[in-house]
Amino acid sequence: MNDKKAAGLTRRQRYDIQQKRRALLVASASTVFVVVALVVLVPLTPGWEKVQKSFFNGAVLAKTFPRLLEAFKINVMIFAWSAPAIAVLGLLIALARDAKSPALFPLRIFGAAFTDVFRGVPVVLTVYLIGFGIPGLGLPRPWNSPYIWGSLALILTYSAYVAEIFRSGIDSVHQSQRSAALSLGLSERQTMRDVILPQAIRNVVPSQMNMLIALQKDVSLLSFIGPVEIFRQAGVFKSLLASFTPYVGAAIIFLVVTIPATRYADYLMARQTRERS
């Protein structure tokens, strides 16, 4: 009785503090153990010295990093024109798939076929088929550029995914919103544009952020059809310098962009979950 008064805590609070201390202790101990194991054990492996020299060579990294950064500009550029195109095309496909008028039935079929095809084929395959296939028609410059057709391959594939996310967003808006809008005399079209879509788009922002992050990485697939973007540039250095370190450098550059973006998407997602509860 005296103890409790002295501490000013209930037994539940004292128990919780004890549990928290224990959890902290266990987490610290296991982290230290894993780090020590990595630092001590990995260098003991027979190939470590070779791997270190090839993958983590400071001199090579310093020498190649500026050029890698330069090449990354191409990734950013391709990303920058593909992303808006994907957003627009994805939204159009989503709307086409939900079209109710019988005159638009072909559009519906087209939308469904489009998403089925481009979600069903590996991205790299689409990049190959479109990136090599269409310039193969013998188009004049600049229409034979792999930048154009590679970007198109990304745009088509990602639009299919983005369209499905938009559709789930449209479904997530409650029917009662539609009833309310129609009851005021708005047309189906006005209801979609002014009432449903703004809410649908807001609901799927976090998911679409994740698609953007994936797109940023998949831009590297264009290296297979020509553009010397960062992955290709790292490959060139690898051959030149007989070192894998440029790949590590490329990975670092990707992470600097994608980690903050991923964190931000997670934050948006968490905030949305909170708002809904």
Binding site: S176, Q177, S179, A180, A181, L182, S183, L184, G185, L186, S187, Q190, D194, V195, P198, Q199, R202
Partner: protein, 243 residues
Amino acid sequence: MAKLELRNVVKRFGDRTVCAGIDLDVEEGQMVCLIGASGAGKSTLLRCINLLETIEDGEIFLDGNDISIPGLDPQSVRASIGMVFQSFNLFPHMTALENAMLAPRRVRGLSRADLLPEVEDLFRRFDLADRMHNYPDQLSGGQQQRVAIVRALAMRPEVMLFDEITSALDPQLVGEVLDVLLALKKQGMTMVLATHEMGFARQAADKVCFLKDGRIIEEGPPSTLFEAPKLAETKAFLARALK
């Protein structure tokens, strides 16, 4: 001629008949209350009047014009019949003012500037002037429901439908919404309510209709229907509802 006339209205969802031949006359300026257990067809009937549901049989007349002709464009009809829902259904991404201006701008084709005085006046009249620029989630349930009523009124409807508009409200907020209905009645608005507020129906309605299994089985002025119901079913329902 009644303002609103329903003749033998039938509505089915699959095999389930929700409205089984409903006849109803609503005179200009009348307040008609539909009462009955949940699932009796009150809400569906209101949705049919507003053409949110298509009816399988029967006719609905507004000012003597058949509005239930298959293939008729429902938009113009809905613009002159306002509806307010149990769950408010305000648009969460718009302020109260924008909620009220959207339909008049789009359907009546008026500019914001032309509309503003008229809509602001509505907000003032229903004691919401200081709430116009709030989003729905910043408003109490009672305020949201009053905004929903203002939104419907901004279309200048000739008839208003109210679907259990106080059922989702905390008891202490019900009064402010019912007061709005009384004010509208005073202005001569023609209204049809689906409601569980027996006290309000008794006090304010011109006519009360008791629905059971998709039919109006008894109707009359509240004095008769509440004080001296003819049917045993009505008596049993009222005994439960007024308990």
